[in-house]
Structure formats: structure tokens, C-alpha cells
């Protein structure tokens, strides 16, 4: 039996490596770029934290302790939770149209989560201490502690879910998936809580961020699936089949709903900032007419919400090119939205109300090239794992067979 198991595993590995090797030159070019960016970013990050010192290498400082890397971590883990939620619609809650995207969504959820861990690992000054003291010296009142523990459990559950999903063991997979959703939602709301419970920071404080993060997660999940699925089919040199096209159409519709929800939340967020403390109004001004105005109006609102909504409307759920473009805008602009959210919350000086010279102007933040390299490391890892995953798992080929069976079953029923 052991021999059979070994031989099956060897066959799988041989098949996977054969599929990777037989890929075309474009595949290798993209894989190479992703690998180089990933390795370069990791080296830059390690050098920054452990050799040069983050004070010299990163753009963060005493008044802006959280910068682009925290925003990137937020971006990845929010996306991961969104993909986890999206995958559950089909293979846990049984909505037929969402079944075809399930495996890829779970796989992408795992790799985006790992990308997030990679980036935060290169941001923390002492990652090793985290691994030790997260368990030896826990602080149960800390949102970061809960977030760390919950995301650790979610990672394990997602991997279990994926393995059993690939083996076609849907019951175990669905159970792990259901638990994964619970942990994922709890983790992402705690991530919101990391910011939302800092009552010294007017822009973050309050129940808005945990709610916003969940809505934003589902939007990101939809965008990532809409963007990567057609690319996955291109890698396989196949046309998107009917069942998958119908699934992408449903995901695109859900994306439109989530764009509207995120727009609604963003509008009321900004409207609510017009009243209240002067600090809140200053934070509002940063986005409306201050240093973050271009990011907010140009990227977060126009290119990140309005134009994708219009493109999806134009696509009618059929024109995949337009949908991919809309999804790309959502993904890229969400990154800048996270950056604005993190940095914007720190720009108003804590002592500005004293009227002192030292804190008479807004704090400024510019990411360094090393921070950008670490961000690219996360993106490179994500891209590399996606490209390899599509080949190793043969484009999640079982889905096509399952889809065929389901279609046959439907015909038989009729």
C-alpha cells in the first residue's frame, strides 16, 4: 500500500514537473520575473531589517510607525479572506454557479495569505520573537494577538480544505472550509480592530473599519478571481468553457454589488468625518484636498470603484476582457486605498491641538525603494505560486470533469 502511495506521489510529481517544463516561453518569462522580484524583495527586506536597520531602510519613523508594508499586509490578508468567502458560496453553501471557481479561490486564498505573512515578516523587527512569544506570552486584549492566532488557524484550515477539495472529499473539505470562514472573518475583523480600537487616532477609531474590511474583502475576492481565472485558462492554452464563463459572470455581478456597497460605506465614512472633532475634519481634509487627494479621488474612488463598475456594466457579464480590466483596476487601486487608510490615520500630529511649533504641520510619508521591493516580493511570490499552481494542479482540471458530470446530470434530469 505504501508502495502504491509512493508511486502515486511520484507519478503526480512527474506529471507536475512535465507540465511545468512543457510550458511555453511566455510562461517562463513571467515565472522568471516573479521569481526574481520575489527573491530580490526578500533579500532587500532581510537586509533592511537585520543589516541596515529599518530606521535607515524604511520610510517609517516615530510619528508614522506604520507604513506601506503594513498596508500591503492588510491588502493581502483582506484579499485572502475575500477569496475564502467567495469559494464558500459554491462548495460550502451549494450555489451551483460559484462551484467552478472554488478550488482556484481556495488556492489563491492560501497564497495571498502567505504573501501577507511574507511581507509582515519583513516588516517586523524581530519575527522570531513573535513565533515564540505569541504563544508563551500572549496578551488576550491585543487585536494583533488574536489576528495572529486566528490567521494561523485559518492557514491550516485552508490548506486542509484545499487538499480534501482536490481529492474530491467534499464533506471534510466543506467542514474545514466552514471553520476557515469563521476564523477568517474573525481574523479580518480583528485586523480592522487593530486600527479601530486605537482611540488616540481619530481617523481609525470606531466600528467602521472591521465592517469595511469584510465588505472590501469580498470585493477583492471577486476581483482576484475575475482577473486570474481567464489568465489561468490562457496558461492552459484553453478557451474559458461555458460553465466557467457563467461562473465568472456571477462573480462579476457580485463584484458590482460589492463595489456599490464599498462606495456606500466610503461615502458615509467621509460624510461622518465632516462632523465631530477637529482632528477628524483634518483627517478628512487630507483625503479630500490634502496630500492624499489624488490617491483618494483619482485611484480609490474613480479608478478603483466608479470605472470598474462602469466597465462591468458595459461588459454585460459576457465580455471577459472588460471584466478582467475592471478587476485589475479594483486590485491595483485597493492597494492604494489601503495605503491611504494606514498612512492617512497617522498624518495628523498627536499634539497639533497644543499649537506648538514642533507639531504645526502634517506628518509626511514616502515609501523607500526597499519598501517597494518588499511589496514586490509579496506580489512576486503570489504570481510565482499562481503560475506554478496552475501547472502543478493542472489548471484544477478535475473541475472540468466535475462540470461535465454536473452538466450530464442536468441533461439526464431533464
Amino acid at each position: 500500500m505504501g508502495g502504491n502511495g509512493e508511486s502515486t506521489l511520484t507519478d503526480c510529481l512527474k506529471g507536475a514537473s512535465r507540465r511545468v517544463v512543457s510550458s511555453g516561453p511566455f510562461y517562463f518569462v513571467f515565472l522568471g520575473i516573479c521569481a526574481v522580484v520575489f527573491i530580490g524583495g526578500v533579500i532587500a527586506g532581510i537586509h533592511s531589517v537585520y543589516v541596515a536597520g529599518s530606521r535607515h531602510a524604511y520610510g517609517t519613523y516615530r510619528e508614522i510607525p506604520l507604513g506601506m508594508l503594513i498596508a500591503t499586509y492588510t491588502f493581502f490578508v483582506v484579499t485572502s479572506t475575500g477569496l475564502c468567502l467567495l469559494s464558500s458560496i459554491g462548495h460550502i453553501f451549494g450555489v451551483e454557479k460559484f462551484v467552478p471557481i472554488g478550488k482556484r479561490a481556495v488556492f489563491l486564498s492560501i497564497i495571498t495569505l502567505l504573501s501577507g505573512f511574507l511581507v509582515i515578516g519583513l516588516e517586523l523587527e524581530n519575527s522570531l520573537r513573535l513565533a515564540i512569544f505569541l504563544f508563551l506570552s500572549p496578551n488576550l486584549s491585543s487585536n494583533i494577538w488574536w489576528m495572529g492566532v486566528l490567521y494561523s488557524f485559518e492557514t491550516v484550515l485552508l490548506i486542509v480544505e484545499f487538499i480534501f477539495l482536490m481529492q474530491g472529499k467534499h464533506k471534510i473539505s466543506a467542514t474545514a472550509g466552514l471553520l476557515g470562514i469563521g476564523f477568517g472573518v474573525a481574523a479580518i475583523s480583528n485586523l480592522g480592530g487593530v486600527f479601530a480600537m486605537l482611540n488616540g487616532r481619530e481617523f481609525w477609531y470606531g466600528p467602521y473599519l472591521p465592517v469595511f474590511f469584510i465588505a472590501s474583502a469580498l470585493l477583492m475576492g471577486c476581483a482576484v478571481i475575475t482577473f486570474f481565472t481567464p489568465i489561468a485558462f490562457a496558461i492552459q492554452r484553453k478557451d474559458v468553457d461555458d460553465a466557467m464563463a457563467s461562473s465568472i459572470e456571477s462573480v462579476a455581478k457580485l463584484m458590482m454589488v460589492m463595489l456599490a456597497v464599498v462606495m456606500f460605506l466610503t461615502i458615509w465614512r467621509m460624510v461622518s468625518l465632516t462632523v465631530g472633532s477637529p482632528e477628524k475634519q483634518m483627517a478628512l481634509n487630507i483625503f479630500v484636498s490634502g496630500p492624499c487627494a489624488f490617491t483618494f479621488w483619482g485611484l480609490e474612488i474613480t479608478l478603483g470603484l466608479i470605472i470598474p463598475f462602469a466597465l462591468l456594466l458595459l461588459s454585460g457579464g459576457k465580455r471577459i476582457g472588460l471584466m478582467v480590466l475592471a478587476a485589475a483596476f479594483v486590485i491595483v487601486c485597493a492597494f492604494f486605498a489601503r495605503l491611504g487608510m494606514v498612512v492617512g490615520g497617522e498624518m495628523v500630529p498627536l499634539y497639533w491641538d497644543l499649537g506648538v511649533k514642533e507639531y504645526a504641520s502634517l506628518h509626511q510619508y514616502s515609501p523607500t525603494w526597499r519598501e517597494i521591493l518588499v511589496v514586490l516580493a509579496g506580489a512576486g511570490f503570489c504570481g510565482m505560486m499562481f503560475l506554478l499552481g496552475e501547472k502543478v494542479f493542472d489548471g484544477f482540471a478535475e473541475e472540468a470533469a466535475e462540470r461535465g458530470l454536473r452538466a450530464k446530470k442536468k441533461v439526464d434530469e431533464k
Binding site: G53, S54, R55, T60, R62, E63, P65, L66, L124, E125, N126, S127, R129, L130, F133, L134, S137, P138, N139, S141, S142, N143, I144, W145, G148, V194, M197, L198, N199, G200, R201, P278, M282, G290, P291, E346, P349, L350, Y351, W352, D353, L354, G355, V356, K357, E358, Y359, A360, S361, L362
Partner: protein, 250 residues
């Protein structure tokens, strides 16, 4: 971008018509109710006055620590000589890129009379410290004996969330220690070695920083806090951090 600060003093005057009266109320709320303490349950004259303003026994509690270290900063006494900053640097080996205490400068050229003011700031050793709540690994904690917010440097993961959580900008990352650093009222460098004052209080030539024990009715800090003649206030009261750095004038 230059920020135009709102004149809060003006607003206060408009609201109450009497700054002094307002400040007394603020003091009673902040110093007693928010800090949640009254020395040994034996605060007589102030307790009875406070009781008139805030009926019930909400503030009739004991100071949580023995000694309960606190500092009163007499803002109008500060001459901006920065000797406190220098003494702190020497006593606690603070690197050039960081600070544990700082003196802020305020200039109001159109003011009548005094046109410049100095406002010393440092860790407020809060009774309800946001940094301690935020730290995932209890690398920062309240000393159970004296209430000082301390750092356990070997546990610090350098996530910097405590820096973001602190409403007083009292923390920085110390490269040499590989951990967050902050004011500990000189517990490590002086108090633990038998000294009775912090380096900054010791160095101040104008007696602007008064360090002492809030749980001891004979202590100067106790006496300065438990009076009604002079206004007492704290910074960032709205965060409910319950600070132990008090400010006064006059």
C-alpha cells in the same frame, strides 16, 4: 500644509465664562474620577467638595499602586533650557535619533504679555495604557507595584503597534536595544538604585517638573494635585488613558 490650531482656551471661556471654574471641574473629573482614585480613601476636604459636584462613590477609591508615581508639570515655570532632555539622555542612554522626554515650544506673537510657552512631554504612565492593551506579547506592561509602564525588551517583536496606540507619542524604536524604548520614570537607571527623583526632575533648575508619590498624602505631588486653588489638567483626556502626568499653572 500648516495647521491652524483651534483656540480651545477661547472656546472654554465662551462655554463657562470662567476658565478657573472649568479647570477645577476638569481637575476633579480627570485627577480623581478618570484616574479613579483617592488616596487611601481618606481625602477629606477635596472629597467632600468633589462629592458635591459628582455625587455617589464613583471616585472614592484607593490609588492602585504603592507608591503611585506621578509627575506634576508646572508649565509656567518651564524656561525651555532643555536640561531635562539632556539629563534624560545621559541617565538612560537615549540615542540621538530618539527621545524619552521633550520640551515643546509654543509661540503666540500677538499674545499680551508672555508670548512664549514651553510644554514638557513624556510617557504619561497611564492607568489605562492603550499601548499595553495593543501589545500582542505583553512586551510592554504595567509594573504591578508602582504603576510604571515598562518594557520587557527581550519580548518586543518590533511591530510598533504600541507606537501607533500611544496618544502621547512617547515611544520610539531603539536600534541598539532592538526593541521599543520609552520613559520609565528612571526606574531602571535611578529609582531602583535608591534615587528619589527622575533625572529630568532633578535637572530642572526651575522646579517645573515635580515628581512624587500620589498615594502618599505627605508627598508634594499629592498636595499639588489635591487642591482647588490652581487649575490641573491632563493631555488627551478624551482617550480615557487615565494619565499620571498632570499639568498646572500659577
Amino acid at each position: 500644509m500648516i495647521i491652524k490650531p483651534i483656540d480651545r482656551e477661547e472656546k472654554r471661556s465662551e462655554m463657562s465664562g470662567s476658565v478657573a471654574e472649568m479647570d477645577r471641574r476638569e481637575f476633579l473629573k480627570m485627577g480623581l474620577v478618570i484616574t479613579g482614585v483617592v488616596a487611601g480613601g481618606s481625602l477629606l476636604s477635596v472629597a467632600s467638595a468633589a462629592d458635591k459636584l459628582f455625587p455617589g462613590d464613583s471616585f472614592l477609591k484607593k490609588y492602585p499602586y504603592r507608591p503611585h508615581y506621578a509627575m506634576v508639570i508646572r508649565v509656567d515655570q518651564c524656561i525651555g533650557c532643555l536640561r531635562c532632555e539632556k539629563a534624560c539622555v545621559v541617565a538612560n542612554s537615549v540615542p540621538a535619533y530618539g527621545w524619552r522626554t521633550k520640551v515643546l515650544h509654543k509661540e503666540v506673537p500677538e499674545a499680551i504679555g508672555q508670548k512664549r510657552e514651553f510644554i514638557p512631554i513624556l510617557c504619561n504612565q497611564c492607568n489605562n495604557p492603550p499601548c499595553v492593551r495593543a501589545c500582542p506579547v505583553t512586551a510592554t506592561f504595567k509594573n504591578r507595584q508602582n504603576g510604571i509602564v515598562m518594557m520587557d525588551v527581550k519580548k518586543c517583536i518590533g511591530c510598533k503597534i504600541c507606537m501607533a496606540a500611544c496618544p502621547y507619542n512617547a515611544r520610539y524604536f531603539n536600534e541598539e536595544r532592538g526593541a521599543i524604548d520609552k520613559c520609565d520614570f528612571c526606574l531602571e537607571s535611578r529609582l531602583s538604585k535608591g534615587e528619589t527623583k527622575t533625572a529630568c526632575a532633578e535637572a530642572c533648575p526651575a522646579d517645573a517638573r515635580v515628581f512624587g508619590d500620589l498615594s502618599n498624602p505627605q508627598d508634594r505631588v499629592y498636595k499639588m494635585i489635591h487642591q482647588l486653588q490652581k487649575p490641573i489638567w491632563v493631555l488627551k483626556r478624551e482617550t480615557d488613558a487615565q494619565p499620571n502626568i498632570f499639568y498646572t499653572k500659577g
